[in-house]
Symmetry: C2
Subunit: 207 residues, 2 copies
């Protein structure tokens, strides 16, 4: 199971503050939408055993589970509408019980730390063998080409903002691995594509 946690610092938690005609205006929601598309879609198909968790303003987490997603399209407007639906359902999320938004989409009343607790402590897949490994993307990390891909990686990415100090500390504390994707600083969605390719090819070994 591959999991991507993407932090949307500035995305409004009020669904009415999200206009599908100005998706970037909702705290650069366009970037989060492209992260979902890069995370779950293949050409004419959808990946298996992938989850994308969008942490919204450290208050809610919207999870897209590729294994049960239905009727999602890769364009920003379609994904943004689904995220808005999820925020619309926030009253149904009681405690840490999720609100069911649509097949494969859930919303939980959780910030980053609670989401990492959940994702890292609960086996990500039905099989108990899952051993989620938090992999921090960091400029001082091991080059991808020198790093062996973990079986159940969890990557944490930030929107257009740098990680906040508290987030950096949390990641430094909980990350078991640090990797670097390349010499350039990429958009989060482009990083997701590069990381998927590293995993698809078993660390650039099988094509």
């Amino acid at each position: 199971m591959r999991q991507f946690v993407v932090i949307g610092h500035d995305v409004p938690t009020d669904p009415d503050a999200i206009s599908l005609s100005d998706i970037p205006g909702a705290g650069r929601l366009d970037l989060l939408c492209r992260c979902v598309a890069a995370g779950v879609f293949l050409s004419h198909g959808i990946r298996e055993r992938v989850r994308v968790h969008l942490v919204v303003a450290d208050e809610f987490t919207v999870t897209f589970d590729a294994d049960s997603l239905r009727h999602l399209h890769p364009d920003e407007r379609n994904v943004a509408a689904r995220i808005r639906d999820a925020l619309d359902a926030q009253d149904d999320a009681i405690g840490h019980m999720p609100a069911d938004v649509s097949p494969g989409v859930e919303l939980r009343r959780m910030g980053l730390e609670a989401t990492l607790d959940r994702v890292l402590d609960t086996p990500g897949t039905s099989s108990a063998s899952a051993d989620p490994t938090l992999v921090q993307l960091h400029e001082d990390g091991d080059p991808l080409v020198d790093a062996a891909p973990p079986t159940d990686p969890v990557f944490v990415l930030s929107d257009h903002n740098d990680f906040a100090p508290a987030e950096r500390d949390l990641l430094a504390d909980r990350a078991e691995r640090r990797v670097r994707v390349g010499p350039e600083l990429l958009h989060a969605d482009h990083t997701v594509s590069v990381v998927h390719n590293w995993l698809d090819t078993d660390g650039y070994e099988s094509y």
Copy 2:
């Protein structure tokens, strides 16, 4: 100079047929927009020496030149509006003389073959040393990890459609290299990110 030629088979050439509220409805224009963003943008910056050429219905080619682009944002709506502006200027494109749409954006009255002639035969950069190499992305190609990156690669990608037979023949005839990005069939924009990473890292050698 890196160049990406993306074929939009179904994109309408009539700008009035493009609605910014239904970008996928314009022949999956959303995919072409994400290819532009993946091609030219870095985190908080824009790449140098990159051009993305969108071949629209084999009749027009809209070129985005990262070195002179201004005021472009990575969200689909912003890029789609710029492509629509370019199609709006088609009457100013006389013969093979481009219509200047906005800084870094031109439209030419050219299909795929004429665009490849132009891109491959005219040195892509001011320096005459440029030697554009057409690299075909193909499932029988050399794995990226085993291939040495050319200095001035030109990649050709298709939208959600397969290459048409005539396009396949043209590519087979003119491609000097064939590479494979991985075992999965990716969206064109995700492929652009993977290829950029291969080039950024000098074939996964420098990070």
